[in-house]
């Protein structure tokens, strides 16, 4: 039967049918649904959230070495973290099929950069497949495991947001168990111990494998030639193929399902069959550089197709048609309309914490998570976001550079999932290298931003089973941090005092937020910690000073209208708290200098 499935769900399905036994991942948009789907629907597969992408790849590689089919999935930047493993796994090869899914995010819908993962395939000398819809996500996943075992190599499967997060029809089948026996063989050490004497023969094996893969690329049905018009032909893959096919169905196509290595003979044939060849690809001129290096002259490529952000049917059409493209009529200028930027939820514990940091005037070395939203005005209390874990290392470096002058001025802030992903080593460094930095861990008991995945600090596995829960204070102690403090972020004054003290201290410290679960984490009953379910603005007292608007709570709005307080103070308007949105976190109550915000009844 055909079912409608998200691209990510189709990958999970394909993996299950291919007989996969082990799946590991660290969440990241747009890849997170793959592992969740595996965990929810396919009990035959062992599934785990690993603490980071490197561990996920190591786990999958170990399973493959033991003869099982295995996969790891991650977003594009996750591959940067996992790449150290990938680059050498490419030498050793695998035993059971090993697929690594890497999901790119052109146009950075939800990422810290925009990188083209096809480069990893060339750099790492491993094959890469790129599906263009859910059916292909499913088929290419299955093909990945066959290619992996046939050529003794890890295989990369690349998606982009518009493929990973698009739903379309998939014709599914049955699970077939892998026939490979499980087990390890110590005699194979020369293949798996990469010391120089072993590396050299493997290095040669990699090149030989590449040649075989090139021959395979010319034969595989993953690459397709569609000859229509003899005058113009387009070489494209994945999403770019879909957009180009949509707007220029009359042209010929060479659709590359295997994007590395390239099918040299097919390309030669395509150039023979059509007069002018255009290369339409999202992000880097990856095919273009290679095909030009093969000596071909192309009609168009990155001279007209943008090399950044994502493509779309109209961008492709406009690029190819040039002046002949007729833009639709503009009826309303969208830039004149109020935007709807994401905001921290009402009641989120990140809001009071960052308000406290702002009041302290701290320079905040931030990180990636929901809390990155603290960069937005009016809170504007986060000053760097580079990569996961960066803040802890950077604050240490800045303090070493500035010496005693830096005391009391700066802090690193990161979420719990981020801390476990890559925050431990920087903290260890501060403990070891006589650092005096302050690191705050926003422990909201979940990976918030990417849609609520469990991690080693939540006490649950991806399948909801009870698990060991990391003790952050003990970690800090073991890493040599002598000053470990807890704060209740909902108590702004106390938080400010503790943070100030630690920032001024000439020693490294770790501050942990306690009892501050994510508002959307039902199991932690986040609302129970609040005394009153609802607050309201007392119109007799509100002076209209707008202080409470500074916390950017979605429940608080401004109501224009001249008037006065009960005791005759003039005002231009008042604050209003929407009772449907207020959860009673009391942050605004602490901000109002006129005690105008009072408990109310739901």
């Amino acid at each position: 039967m055909k079912e409608i499935m998200q691209g990510n769900a189709a990958i999970a399905r394909g993996a299950w049918e291919a007989g996969v036994k082990v799946a590991a991942a660290y969440p990241g948009t747009p890849s997170s649904e793959i592992l969740k789907d595996v965990a929810d629907n396919y009990p035959e597969i062992y599934a785990e959230w690993s603490p980071n992408e490197m561990v996920a790849v190591q786990v999958a590689a170990g399973a493959a070495l033991a003869g099982a089919r295995a996969m790891a999935s991650m977003k594009h930047v996750g591959m940067n973290v996992a790449s150290d493993a990938l680059m050498t796994l490419a030498y050793t090869g695998i035993k059971g099929g090993l697929m690594i899914v890497v999901a790119d995010d052109p146009n950075v819908h939800s990422s810290q950069n925009e990188q083209d993962s096809r480069n990893w395939a060339r750099f790492g000398k491993v094959p890469m497949l790129e599906p263009g819809d859910a059916q292909e996500c499913y088929e290419f996943t299955k093909a990945s495991f066959d290619i992996s075992e046939k050529f003794d190599t890890p295989v990369l499967l690349r998606t982009v947001t518009r493929i990973a997060h698009a739903d379309s029809l998939v014709q599914t089948g049955k699970r077939v168990e892998s026939k490979m026996p499980l087990g390890l063989d110590p005699k194979e050490a020369p293949k798996y111990v990469m010391v120089p004497a072993h590396v050299r023969p493997r290095r040669k094996a990699v090149e030989e494998r590449m040649r075989k893969l090139e021959a395979f690329a010319d034969k595989t049905k993953l690459n397709k030639m569609e000859i229509n018009s003899k005058s113009v032909g387009i070489i494209a893959s994945g999403s770019a193929y879909m957009y180009a096919k949509e707007v220029f169905p009359e042209y010929s196509f060479l659709k590359l399902g295997m994007v590395w290595p390239l099918p040299k003979k097919m390309i030669a044939d395509f150039f023979k069959q059509v007069k002018k060849v255009m290369i339409i690809e999202e992000l880097d001129p990856f095919f273009e550089t290679e095909i030009k290096a093969m000596g071909y002259k192309i009609f168009h490529g990155k001279d007209i197709i943008p090399n950044m952000y994502e493509l779309s049917p109209e961008i492709v059409e406009q690029a190819v048609k040039g002046k002949a493209y007729k833009a639709p009529k503009v009826r309303v200028k969208p830039e004149d309309l109020p935007r709807r930027p994401p905001n921290l939820c009402a009641g989120c514990s990140h809001r009071p914490l960052f308000y406290a940091l702002k009041k302290l005037g701290a320079f905040v070395f931030g990180d990636i998570g929901c809390y990155t939203l603290a960069v937005a005005p009016p809170i504007s209390a986060l000053h760097t976001t580079i990569c996961m874990g960066a803040g802890g290392g950077m604050v240490h470096g800045a303090m070493k550079a500035m010496g005693k002058d830096a005391l009391g001025k700066m802090v690193a802030v990161l979420g719990d999932s981020t801390f476990l992903h890559s925050g431990l080593a920087p903290l260890m460094n501060a403990g070891y290298n006589k650092g005096n930095s302050t690191t705050i861990v926003l422990d909201n008991r979940i990976t918030g931003m990417t849609g609520h995945q469990e991690h080693a600090g939540t006490g649950f596995t991806v399948r909801g089973e009870l698990a060991n829960q990391v003790d952050y204070a003990q970690i800090g102690k073991a890493l040599g941090i002598k000053n470990i403090r807890y704060v209740d972020p909902y108590n702004i004054k106390e938080t400010m005092e503790v943070v100030k003290e630690e920032m001024n201290r000439d020693e490294a410290s770790l501050i942990l937020c306690k009892d501050s679960p994510c508002m959307l984490l039902r199991r932690a009953k986040p609302l129970e910690r609040f005394k009153n379910p609802l607050y309201a603005v007392n119109m007799d007292k509100c002076r209209g000073c707008k202080m409470c608007l500074e916390i950017n709570c979605p429940a608080i709005s401004w109501r224009e209208g001249a008037g006065q307080t009960k005791d005759g103070q003039k005002r231009k308007g008042t604050a209003y708290i929407n009772p449907d949105q207020c959860v009673g976190c009391e942050v605004c109550v602490q901000v109002c200098k006129f005690d105008a915000i009072e408990p109310a009844k739901k």
């Binding site: 779309s312 639709p328 979605p554 709005s557």
Partner: protein, 197 residues
Amino acid sequence: MKKDEKTTNIFLSGVGGQGAILASNILGEVFIRAGYDVKKAEVHGMAQRGGDVTTHFRFGKKVYSPIIKYGDVDYLLSFELLEALRYINWVKPDGKIVINTQEILPPSVSLGQMQYPKGVEDTFKKYFKNNVHVINGMGIAKDLGNLQAQNVVLVGAFSNFFPKIKEAYFIDAIKKLLAPKLHDLNIKAFEAGRKAL
């Protein structure tokens, strides 16, 4: 190209929490049952609520691109007035529009820095005349005793544009996608919406 081979483009827009995703999932199940190829693409925002949500929904004999070409929308189904206006340029000159009258203030408006756009219906009518259909989904859902059912009310109203698609497909889809205890309410919501337009 024959007329029935053409792909139809439906654009759904709303605010997180309004249930636009469920609405597009229902459409997905319906048009598959009717034998079409279907593609739909959502922009998944971050975990927090309150951002804008859009879905590109396409059906036809064979659909390639998961996203609609700018300016090629046949039907705009919007859950919120401002989120309708934001995509007005996407609609074809002869496109059809269903606008829900709910207003949800974005932060810049609630903080008093910007104005919520006025006369959204009139702006649409100026360009699309009789192809604009306005519905008070919230009011209908309120009468049914559950505000959450607003999304299915809107699907009911929208279903009128596809007289050849069996009503039973919609009912099947609702039953497939919702928990049994919600079936009655949502089927009623669908019927009420279908009558409202």
